[in-house]
Amino acid sequence: MKPALPAAILIAAMLCPVSQAEDAATWRIVNFWSEWCAPCRKEIPMLNALSRSLEPLGISVVGVNFDEDPRAVTLEIAARLGIAFPTLTGDEVAALNLRPPEAMPTTVILTPANDVAARLVGLQDEEAIMTQLARLGLPIAATSSRQP
């Protein structure tokens, strides 16, 4: 079976301090999406899979509807787009105090203290996000949503 992730990611993960695994409990991957954004729609299946695979590590994937629709509309759109990860409420988004995205989609990795650790603009794949997590010292080496 091929390794699930590139060697660079595995090495980076191996070098990270074990103690950081505790902090991983509250790291968040915040994905700004919009219904009209084709690249946003394209990365949803990847984010769904990533959400499932990272959940055991306590890293959560959450979504933000960039269009700021009412909550009921947002949930309706999320369901229609097949978004399986939680979508933040307007108040939750406001509490994060994040800079509005300059382009859609934008994915932000937040530390447990809600500091922006990484900001990924445009369509991402799993490898790009996992690489960022590894660079941040999160123990993701054994985790991948990819099937062998």
Binding site: W36, E102, M104, R119, V121, L123
Partner: protein, 409 residues
């Protein structure tokens, strides 16, 4: 409704002081007296947004906006004679409109002719919509029935319209046309199209101006001494999304060329189109870019009708959200509008440059919500006065309008 002074100048002073310390735009360093934004009483009612400002040949200013209530969208305008607004006049209304914060109706006024467009849903998908335009009939003093501008008959996205009069009774309309995005088995790219219309609504000609452009950014058009130009965000096969220009010279459209090779590569939707202003052979383009995740609003000038441009001048750096507009004063100076963002505080900014793109000053016009709900502030100049409009977000959104007089400065 009379003009009244507002408290913005005090805020502008604070902003200018802050900028003097940390902003790449050296506001307030010109040695001239500070210009003062003046808030005008808005003719737009509660629940209004998506405003634009334009003028006719006599200098009369027109403010347009959209209101939404109970599912009914209404497109209206009022004119400003220098001291008062006229009563609001309704252009059109509908329950099947596509109303969007970035892609919204436009009013063009030229001579005794008026032309307005809006967007109408064409299918069940949320983002299938057509461009509809109405031509004003001055002899009957009424708006003609809406005309479908994109005639492809494909349920896809059509919008981000720009308009520019090309003659006494002619107007160029350009738009992003998604007819190829519904291709099978693989969706094709968004295209840029243009068509020239007579003031009666007759279509005179139509062209595909670029076969592959960014899907979600506004387009802009202007008239030069050699003909109309269209400025837009391009999209290369490798997702480089820099600003491009096409020009019509003696009836023929040029191949697209970039205004500057920023090299912003992004597989995403910037929703941050460029602005253009032109007078005779001078063309000014203002745009947002984000190469290497570094936000920048830039300005480039052409002295040959858009064939060649100067190297970009940086207007704003890390703390800008873009959402730009541009206009040229009668004295040749350049005004660029952009959004400044510090923490959660955003402001509508006007930066002034000489005809040679030398910085003169920057003024904060108004605080604004950074959220998409505040839309895209728009500017337009008459003589040496700039009119600015934006949306004040609240329980009931409301269009605001101000002017900044550069006479004597």
């Amino acid at each position: 409704m009379k003009a009244k002074k507002i408290l913005v100048p005090r805020m502008a002073g604070v902003m200018l002081g802050v900028f003097g310390l940390i902003c790449p735009v050296a506001a307030g360093e010109s040695g001239r007296d500070a210009v003062t934004p003046e808030l005008l009483a808005s003719p737009a009612p509660a629940h209004s947004h998506l405003s634009r400002v334009t003028s006719d040949d006599t200098g009369t200013v027109y403010l347009s906006w959209v209101t939404e209530r109970d599912g009914l969208a209404e497109f209206a305008f009022a004119s400003w004679d220098g001291s008062d607004w006229s009563d609001a006049a309704i252009i059109s209304e509908g329950r099947d409109w596509f109303v969007n914060w970035a892609d919204f109706p436009r009013l063009s006024v030229h001579g005794d002719g008026k032309l307005a467009h809006w967007l109408r849903r064409s299918g069940s998908s949320s983002y299938d919509y057509d461009v509809v335009a109405s031509f004003y009939d001055p002899s009957r003093q009424r708006w003609r029935d809406g005309t479908l501008i994109n005639t492809d008959g494909i349920q896809a996205e059509h919008g981000f319209v720009a308009m520019v009069p090309t003659g006494p009774y002619r107007t160029l309309i350009t738009w992003l046309d998604g007819r190829r995005t519904k291709s099978e088995p693989e969706p094709g790219p968004m295209t840029l199209r243009g068509a020239e219309y007579a003031s009666t609504g007759e279509r005179l000609d139509e062209w595909e101006l670029d076969s592959r452009v960014c899907d979600c950014c506004q387009t802009a058009a202007a008239m030069t001494s050699r003909g109309p130009i269209v400025v837009y965000r391009d999209r290369s096969p490798h997702d480089i999304r820099d600003i491009a220009i096409v020009r019509q010279i003696e009836g023929q459209w040029t191949e697209p060329q970039t205004v500057h090779d920023d090299g912003w590569q992004v597989a995403g939707c910037p929703v941050n189109g460029p602005a253009v202003a032109a007078r005779e052979n001078t063309v000014v383009v203002v745009w947002f870019t984000l190469r290497d995740d570094l936000p920048a609003v830039q300005l480039a000038v052409s002295r040959d009708d858009g064939e060649h441009f100067t190297a970009p001048t940086l207007i704003a750096g890390a703390d800008t959200l873009g959402r730009v507009d541009a206009t040229l004063l009668d004295n040749g100076e350049i005004i660029a509008s952009w959004l400044d963002l510090r923490g959660t505080d955003a402001h509508v900014m006007l930066s002034r440059y000489s005809a040679d793109a030398e910085f003169i000053d920057t003024v904060a016009v108004s605080p604004i919500l950074a959220s998409r709900r505040s839309g895209f502030p728009r500017i337009h100049s008459v003589g040496n006065t700039v009119y600015v409009t934006w949306t004040q977000v609240g329980d009931a959104n409301r269009v605001k309008v101000a002017r900044v007089r550069y006479d004597g400065f």
